[in-house]
């Protein structure tokens, strides 16, 4: 019994099967268009299409575009083509009428607040007294791990827009550190007349070498790491909105989530549709709201991604409360390693906003010597207020 999927007798032929396969990949989040179907069919003509392994290789070369897609491709290929001889009835999926998971109602849970100007997830920032009688509502903390929690319930589109504005300003504060002076450069936008004339003396007054100057561009790359463990879930909404805004405002920024694992969410957040980006992110942040291993996650970051993305012109922003379930030694080792890459490290701690806060959490105390800046941040306004500090860095 071969493992290859058998297709129903009324199946219109190989072209539609390929189209069906591309649609199957598309449903699983690979970004493929119509042109890829044609390309895949042409590719099939170039290999021996009855050998499954050759098909697999050819289609992999055509349909994938980055490492993680290439890693997922095998299972997707198997599920479509190697379905243990089962008969596929429908090759080309029908357009779905059922609600899809990338359409998401972002209706706010407005039912809980008593008419104040804040919402259930964003505090009142107007500075006025709320109109409720102040009994408040006790939210019991759930100890279990809320895996598969949809982050879209936490963030609304207009909050992201607001956060985007903050992030944009912040990115600009970090990035646009141009000086007015121009300095000599091999490739500049203007001629460096003084140097050109000076050099031309050697060639009898002929300016044979044109020397140029440019404004030194001292750009900064922002790398943000956001803690989404249980203790942070109250603040996660602000930070996630901020991250989403940051990614959309700044082409060079990079973002990660961590709890007990570290996930890179840069690619997901680059999605043009904000809410869909957050949706993709929540799929990745499996284990959202569980425990936290800050030290280990940062260690992983320093050992892997930091080598590729962090250099002397990076600013690493860590958004976390510093409550680590691991010994603090791991955290300080990871930060020391990051420091070695020559970057600036900023730690934004939502707890620091409290009047009597002192960094006594073991992790936080261990981290302090390695930080360039340690600031409170629990609302967007706080994040916005960071701007002048960042300029000073």
């Amino acid at each position: 019994m071969s493992r290859v999927t058998r297709f129903a007798g009324r199946d219109p032929g190989p072209a539609s099967r390929i189209a069906g396969f591309i649609a199957h990949l598309r449903q699983n989040g690979l970004r493929l268009g119509v042109a890829e179907v044609e390309l895949a069919l042409n590719a099939m003509n170039e290999v021996n299409a009855v050998v499954p392994d050759e098909c697999r290789r050819a289609l992999r070369a055509v349909c994938t575009g980055c490492t993680d897609e290439a890693e997922r491709f095998d299972t997707l290929f198997d599920s479509f083509w190697m379905d243990a001889g089962r008969v596929k009835q429908k090759v080309v999926p029908k357009a779905q009428a059922a609600p899809r998971d990338d359409v998401h109602s972002s209706r706010q849970a407005k039912g809980q607040d008593a008419g104040a100007s804040g919402s259930a997830t964003a505090p009142d920032t107007s500075g006025e007294e709320a109109e409720s009688d102040g009994t408040g509502k006790l939210i019991a903390t759930e100890r279990r791990n809320l895996s598969r929690r949809d982050l879209r319930d936490l963030v609304s589109a207009d909050e992201i827009a607001e956060a985007e504005a903050v992030a944009r300003r912040m990115g600009a504060a970090l990035r646009d550190r141009r000086s007015r002076r121009r300095i000599a450069a091999r490739k500049g936008d203007r001629l460096h007349f003084r140097k050109t004339i000076r050099q031309s003396l050697a060639t009898g007054g002929e300016p044979l070498r044109l020397l140029r100057k440019h404004r030194p561009d001292r750009s900064r790359k922002i790398v943000a790491l956001c803690d989404v463990s249980g203790s942070m879930s109250v603040y996660a909404q602000v930070f996630l909105a901020f991250l989403a805004g940051l990614m959309r405002a700044d082409k060079d920024a990079d973002a990660y989530l961590f709890h007990t694992r570290l996930v890179r969410i840069t690619e997901a957040l680059r999605d043009k549709d904000t809410m869909r980006a957050i949706g993709r992110m929540s799929l990745m942040a499996d284990g959202f709201g569980g425990g936290s291993k800050i030290g280990l996650s940062l260690q992983r970051f320093a050992d892997t991604y930091a080598r590729r993305f962090v250099d002397g012109r990076s600013v690493v922003i860590i958004l976390s409360d510093g409550y680590d379930t691991e010994p603090p030694a791991a955290l300080s080792a990871a930060l020391a390693k990051l420091r070695k890459r020559g970057c600036k490290i900023i730690w934004l701690n939502p707890l620091k906003g409290w009047a009597d806060y002192a960094p006594v959490a073991g992790g936080m105390a261990a981290a302090l010597p390695y930080l360039d800046l340690f600031r409170p941040a629990n609302t967007l306004a706080d994040l916005a207020a960071l701007e002048p500090e960042l300029v000073a860095l």
Binding site: L39, V47, R57, A61
Partner: protein, 291 residues
């Protein structure tokens, strides 16, 4: 020509290509699409372009990308000095104006840079765009335009259209995320470190004189070494250097002399912390595991 033919041809030129890579390369040739290769440093991404140019007996044109690479350096530049001298010489002869201008903005005064050179050859050359991730996005967009139209427009001359389509191979180490548009234009393959058999075949292809037992030991050792937590994982080139060093020292067995083995590790470990991590004891242990 099937992809297996291509694989054996590459093999004859000393490049042991995995099936995945060969199929992708074969499709890139057949469908005339650029091929994007991603992978760690030292897995033979650049080398495949060189070997392919040897197989097809054609020119290899290489464009090494770096931060701040601009279109002028990649496509064409005017030979300014020559233009200046021509103007001066013309002025001596009393020639001025339009005729001189026409003369100094002709093809003779154009310095071809890799991209322009690649589309004006008589035979299809192999164009290797190395480490595309180091160039900025602006350049990437420009490159896309050249790769989709296969023409270059020079304002003073008009448009130069390709005489032949080059075979384009791009490599990336993943220091930056490439744009979706570029990924969609290209076929894609992730090149990983070779497995034991492949690496052994590479060693045999490059060092034909090596004894089978020592070869297996070397490859086993390097394979195990890649599993350690190193800052810089040794690639294939490092493995070949290591083999050459051992053969040069006349060592027939890795387990013979731990001190000599440790001395030759400088061919594999390229940072101070990596060298400190692999002490002679650790090295001996890895050799033991690999044996």
């Amino acid at each position: 020509m099937t992809w297996t033919d291509l694989q054996s041809q590459l093999g004859r030129h000393g490049y042991v290509a995995s099936d995945d890579l060969t199929v992708a390369l074969h499709l890139a040739l057949a469908l005339e699409r650029p091929l994007l290769l991603e992978g760690a440093a030292g897995v033979g991404k650049t080398d495949i372009a060189r070997t392919l140019s040897e197989v097809r007996d054609t020119r290899l044109i290489r464009l090494q990308c770096y931060e701040g690479l601009d279109a002028a350096h990649a496509i064409y530049e005017w030979n300014y000095q020559r233009q200046l001298l021509t103007i001066r010489a013309a002025a001596e002869d009393g020639e001025t104006g339009k005729t001189v201008e026409d003369r100094i903005f002709s093809r003779d005064f154009l310095l071809e840079r890799p991209l322009l050179a690649a589309i004006t050859q008589d035979r299809r050359p192999v164009l290797l765009i190395d480490e595309i991730d180091r160039a900025d996005e602006e350049f990437e967009a420009y490159l896309l335009e050249v790769l989709s139209e296969y023409q270059v427009s020079v304002p003073e001359l008009g448009t130069i259209t390709a005489t032949t389509k080059p075979i384009v191979i791009l490599t990336s180490n993943g220091t930056r995320d490439l744009s979706d548009a570029l990924r969609r234009r290209c076929l894609y393959t992730y090149v990983d470190y070779p497995d034991m058999q492949t690496e052994l075949a590479i060693l045999k292809a490059r060092c034909p004189g090596i004894e089978a037992r020592l070869g297996a030991q070397i490859v086993g050792f390097v394979q195990k070494l890649r599993e350690e937590e190193l800052e810089k994982t040794p690639g294939i080139a490092e493995m070949l250097d290591f083999a050459a060093a051992l053969m040069g020292l006349g060592i027939a067995d890795l387990t013979d002399d731990p001190t000599v083995l440790h001395a030759t590790l400088s061919t594999l470990l390229k940072t101070q912390s990596d060298q400190a991590q692999i002490t002679p004891d650790v090295a001996a242990r890895i050799v033991g595991k690999a044996a």
